[in-house]
C-alpha cells in the first residue's frame, strides 16, 4: 500500500477495494481526502496513507433534477431526482459524494448534520470497474 502514489488514480483503486483513503502530512498533520501529493498547508511534509472510518455527517447538499448523462443512464430524471452532497468525515476532511437513503423528492426532509456512513457503488463502465463514493444515513 505504501508504494502507491498519492494520486487520484490510487484513490480510485482504493475505492474499488472499498477503502476510503486519504493522505496525511508527516510534518503538520494536515489530512487530505482525496489524497494530495504536496502538503498545501506547510509545503514541507512527506505524505503517508491513512484509511478513513467512513463515518461522517452531511455538511451541504443538493437534489438534482437535471443531471449529467451518466446519472440519466442510471435512471434519474426530473421526476426522479438524486442527492449529491459534501460529507464531513469524522477525521475532519470533507468529500463530495452521492447521498443515498434520503428522499430527494422532499429535500426539506434532508437535514445538514445528518450522520452518514460510507457506501461504495460499483459500476461496470467500458469493461472496467468504477466505484462511486456514496454515503447513507447511519
Amino acid at each position: 500500500m505504501q508504494e502507491r502514489p498519492f494520486s487520484d488514480i490510487s484513490y480510485e483503486q482504493f475505492l474499488n477495494e472499498e477503502r476510503l483513503m486519504g493522505s496525511r502530512c508527516t510534518q503538520c498533520n494536515a489530512l487530505y481526502v482525496p489524497p494530495r501529493p504536496i502538503c498545501v498547508e506547510c509545503h514541507r511534509g512527506d505524505m503517508s496513507w491513512e484509511e478513513m472510518t467512513g463515518k461522517g455527517k452531511l455538511s451541504a447538499f443538493t437534489c438534482i433534477a437535471i443531471g449529467p448523462s451518466f446519472m440519466i443512464a442510471e435512471g434519474y430524471h426530473r421526476k426522479n431526482p438524486y442527492c449529491s452532497g459534501v460529507v464531513e468525515l469524522e477525521e475532519g476532511a470533507r468529500v463530495d459524494a452521492r447521498i443515498e437513503g434520503v428522499d430527494p423528492k422532499n429535500p426539506e426532509t434532508i437535514k445538514i448534520g445528518l450522520p452518514l456512513s460510507v457506501k461504495f457503488l460499483h459500476r461496470k463502465e467500458d469493461e472496467s470497474l468504477k466505484t462511486y463514493l456514496a454515503f447513507r444515513p447511519s
Binding site: 451541504a60 443538493t62 438534482i64 433534477a65 437535471i66 463514493l133
Partner: protein, 421 residues
C-alpha cells in the same frame, strides 16, 4: 494580507461595446463581435483608427466545445482588421474576458503597448440544453462531477450551507430574482426584458387565449413558489434562480492614461484590479464565501485606496441567485450573513443605497460566458458616463463602480474598480 500593488502607468477605457445578448439562430460569434466592435468604435467620440490598435486580448471559455472551433484570437483579429498584430485568447471559465481585460491592462501598464482592444465572446445556443450543461460542467472540479454535481448543483449545495449558517431561506433568493427582473426591462441589450409580474401576466393571458385553466398568483413570490411555473433544477436552485443559455460578445478599448483625451472627452479610469483563485467545494473551509473573491477584492481595494463603502454600485456574478448574496458579502458591501437581509430591505435595488446588477445581471441580461466579464465592465462604464438611460443609477455624483466576475465554481474571481475623474 494581500500585497499592495500598483500599475506601472495608468490605464483608461476610451470606448466600449456589446452585442445584444440572447439566443440567436441567425448570428454567429463573428457577427456578434462585429456588433460589439462597431458600437465600440462609435463610442470613441474623437475617433479610433483600428490600424492603431497594438494588440487584441480575447476571452472565450469554450467555443471549442460549443461550436467545435477553437483559436478565436486570430479569427476575431481578422474580421476587425488588426492582423498581423498579435491576438491572444484567455480562458478562465465564466471569467474569461475579465482575464482578457487584465492582460490588456498589464500590457499597457508595462509600457509595451499603448492601445489595446480587449473583448470576449461565447456562442452557446446552437447546442441542446443538455450539451450546454455538459460543456459548463467541464469547469467544475473532477470530484464534484463524479459525485453527480452539476453547475447548478454546486450552487444548490452552497445555498443549503448558507441557509443553515445564517437562517436564510428560498424566499430570500426570490428577492434577488425579482430585483434583477425589475432592472432588466430597462436594459435594451438584455435577454429577458420582462419583470416577474409581466411574466405572470403573459402566462395568464396565454392560458385564457388557449381556453386552459387560469392560475392566479397572489404576487411574485407566489408565482416563484409554484413548481409548475418555477420547477426545481438542483434544489434549492429553481429555474428562476439560474442564468440562461446565451450568445453574445463584448469589447473595450484600453489606452495609456496620458493619451486618453486624444480619443474621448469622457475617459473612465481603472482604479483597482484584483484576481484570485479558489478550489473545489470539498476543499473549502466554509461554503458560504468565495476565497478567490475576497482575495481579488483586497487586491483591488488596496491598489485603489478605496473601501467597500466607496463603491457606489456594482455588477456581480449572479450565475445563480445564491451567488449574488455571497458576492455582496465577499466584496465587503455587507457583513457575512447580512447580504440576504440587505436585499430583502431593498438596499440593492436601482434606487437603493448600493444598487447591484443594474443591467439585470447574468440572470436577465444573459450569460454568454466568455463575453460576461467585459459586459459587466461595459455596464459600469455606461453608468459612470451617465448613459444608462432609464436604468441610470439615481446618484448625482456617480464616480466609482465595481465589477465582479467569477469563473467555474469560484476557481477564478476578479474584481475591478472603475472611476470617473
Amino acid at each position: 494580507m494581500v500585497k499592495k500593488r500598483k500599475l506601472g502607468r495608468g490605464v483608461a477605457i476610451v470606448g466600449a461595446g456589446m452585442s445584444k445578448f440572447g439566443m440567436f439562430k441567425d448570428k454567429d460569434s463573428k457577427d456578434l463581435f462585429t456588433e460589439a466592435f462597431n458600437e465600440m468604435t462609435a463610442s470613441v467620440n474623437k475617433g479610433i483608427d483600428p490600424n492603431d490598435i497594438d494588440a487584441l486580448y480575447l476571452g472565450n471559455f469554450s467555443n471549442d466545445f460549443f461550436m467545435h472551433q477553437s483559436h478565436w484570437g486570430p479569427i476575431i483579429a481578422d474580421i476587425i482588421g488588426t492582423v498581423p498584430k498579435p491576438a491572444t485568447r484567455t480562458e478562465g471559465a465564466c471569467a474569461s474576458s475579465a482575464l482578457a481585460f487584465r492582460e490588456g491592462i498589464f500590457a499597457i501598464a508595462s509600457g509595451f503597448y499603448d492601445i489595446v482592444l480587449v473583448g470576449g465572446l461565447e456562442e452557446m445556443s446552437k447546442r441542446t440544453t443538455e450539451e450546454v450543461a455538459e460543456g459548463l460542467a467541464l469547469a467544475t472540479v473532477p470530484y464534484e462531477g463524479r459525485a453527480g454535481f452539476t453547475f447548478p448543483g454546486v450552487f444548490g449545495a452552497i445555498a443549503t450551507a448558507y441557509f443553515e449558517k445564517y437562517g436564510a431561506n428560498r424566499e430570500h433568493l426570490m428577492n434577488v430574482t425579482i430585483k434583477s427582473h425589475n432592472n432588466a426591462p430597462l436594459n435594451p441589450k438584455a435577454q429577458f426584458k420582462l419583470t416577474i409580474r409581466d411574466m405572470m401576466n403573459v402566462k395568464v393571458e396565454s392560458a385564457k387565449k388557449k381556453g386552459l385553466p387560469v392560475t392566479e398568483w397572489i404576487d411574485e413570490k407566489d408565482f416563484l413558489r409554484d413548481p409548475r411555473a418555477n420547477p426545481v433544477v438542483a434544489w434549492p436552485m429553481h429555474l428562476y434562480d439560474c442564468c440562461p443559455i446565451s450568445d453574445g460578445a463584448s469589447c473595450m478599448l484600453l489606452v495609456a492614461e496620458e493619451i486618453a483625451k486624444n480619443f474621448t472627452d469622457a475617459p473612465i479610469y481603472v482604479a483597482g484590479i484584483g484576481q484570485g483563485s479558489g478550489r473545489g467545494l470539498h476543499a473549502c473551509k466554509d461554503f458560504t464565501y468565495f476565497e478567490a473573491t475576497r482575495y481579488a477584492a483586497q487586491e483591488a481595494y488596496g491598489m485603489s485606496n478605496l473601501k467597500p463603502e466607496d463603491i457606489q454600485f456594482a455588477e456581480v456574478h449572479d450565475c445563480f441567485s445564491i451567488a449574488e448574496l455571497l458576492h455582496i458579502e465577499d466584496l465587503g458591501f455587507f457583513e457575512p450573513g447580512e447580504g440576504y437581509k440587505a436585499v430583502a430591505d431593498g438596499l440593492t435595488r436601482l434606487n437603493g443605497t448600493k444598487p447591484i446588477n443594474t443591467s439585470g445581471g447574468l440572470k436577465c441580461k444573459g450569460h454568454p460566458v466568455g463575453a460576461t466579464g467585459i459586459s459587466q465592465l461595459y455596464e459600469v462604464w455606461t453608468q459612470l458616463r451617465g448613459k444608462a438611460g432609464k436604468r441610470q443609477v439615481p446618484i448625482d455624483d456617480l464616480r466609482v463602480g465595481g465589477a465582479h466576475n467569477l469563473g467555474g465554481t469560484g476557481g477564478t474571481c476578479t474584481f475591478t474598480i472603475l472611476e470617473r475623474r
